[in-house]
């Protein structure tokens, strides 16, 4: 495989990994309202401590899925849709390859 494709896979893998946790998925769901929310706001109602939620937010931030802005004493997080759109495109690519492969296999079988 080309090294560009390898690098892409690493990038995608980190985004997948960031989404691979129920807590973080629910954080993403909460941030889907397009607004920015403080950590306390995002942690309220959770079983976890504020610090644990903060760690999850940092994971999402490192993957580029969210970003934070300081606002007074609170730091507000908001969604960055870019990486998620990239994932959608990547999964579409996989599905496409799969469909084409199945098509070829079907045609091959018919030709026998």
């Amino acid at each position: 495989m080309r090294s560009a494709a390898l690098a892409k896979q690493h990038a995608y893998a980190s985004v997948f990994a960031a989404l691979g946790d129920p807590t973080r998925l629910s954080l993403v769901a909460k941030l889907c309202d397009g607004q920015s929310h403080s950590i306390s706001r995002l942690a309220e109602g959770s079983v976890l401590t504020r610090q644990a939620v903060t760690k999850h937010l940092r994971v999402l931030e490192n993957a580029g899925i969210v970003h934070s802005v300081q606002r007074g004493r609170e730091s507000r997080f908001a969604l960055d849709p870019g990486p998620i759109d990239d994932l959608r495109a990547y999964l579409d690519e996989i599905s496409e390859q799969w469909d084409h492969a199945l098509g070829r296999l079907k045609k091959f079988a018919e030709d026998q």
Copy 2:
């Protein structure tokens, strides 16, 4: 949040997590040809040992992304596109929510 939605999030999270590793992503890419491949075949050319590759395949299998069939002395793995299609739908849902939220925010701003 409803408990059904919670269960969905756990299921999606495990699939995301399974894809959250470069080695496993490249395994998925190899299996996109619609064929089934033996472990040795999938491990050849890899830096990792066969046993390590096997572990990754089991992770993918537990997430429902691949399945294995015994064939003589080899066990062949093939892709199961279902979970990946589910992820696509889930990401589409997120993007849709995001777009709608932005639309509402824009309208709200214009109304001021």
